[in-house]
Symmetry: C2
Subunit: 142 residues, 2 copies
């Protein structure tokens, strides 16, 4: 099954990047402004258009979600952020895995994830990300 893969390097310690990935407040700063819910293992984070169950949340190391509702193509997929500190930065190795087919929507989501990971970097490095609905648009009407 095809996966969406990305990597960005953030000039910060993994613990700081984890705060932005592993807490609802953090997620509101770079992905979806109106995020609610719980971010502990077993809880569900509500991003409005989708809901993610937290499978793993290891400070400074790894976040793993499973999509429990949202766009049809997303339900059952897994989103994983692995953190590794090297060369003076935290690399975020990202994977949105388990897509059934490489549909056009998957192409769209791949590009969107890239822009959101750069929004994550901006939040951590500069204090301000670009979460939806103020996210970078990648097509007319996005």
């Amino acid at each position: 099954m095809p996966d969406i893969l990305h990597r960005v390097g953030i000039a910060a310690r993994p613990e700081r990047v984890y705060e932005a990935l592993g807490t609802v407040d953090g997620l509101r700063g770079w992905w979806v402004s109106e995020t609610t819910g719980g971010s502990r293992v077993g809880e569900v984070i509500d991003f409005g258009f989708c809901q993610m169950k937290v499978v793993e949340s290891t400070p400074g190391r790894r976040i793993h979600w499973q999509c429990v509702s949202g766009p049809d193509e997303w339900v059952g997929t897994e989103v994983i952020f692995d953190l590794a500190f090297k060369d003076d930065q935290t690399f975020v190795l990202f994977r949105h895995a388990g897509w059934k087919e490489p549909v056009e929507f998957m192409h769209h989501c791949s590009t969107k994830w890239a822009t959101f990971l750069l929004s994550l970097r901006d939040l951590v490095e500069k204090g301000k990300g670009g979460p939806a609905p103020h996210d970078l648009k990648i097509h007319v009407g996005d």
Copy 2:
């Protein structure tokens, strides 16, 4: 074999987007400033760090390259841009196919391609892209 997939929508006709994808001058404006070589079918485009043989170049429709030299992980891979006009824009459906393994470098390249496709959009819509070496950096030392 895993693929890198992306999609952006550009507020322009496919013929204009094709100019930026299917000519050396166009490619210098959004991917690599120092691009040389030939962009007709059977010719090789030289991007410096890699060389792409042109497999197909159909105005307003499709560009298809095969990597003939460059980074080890790229040699033999295929890069395909499909253009489709709908909803007042040209959608660029992008695929970098034929990677042997989903290595960390593939994660990096996926994110870079997203930024270059947005550079392509900026070139076409605003007249100025961000080609290497003045591309958007995605990690410290990129």
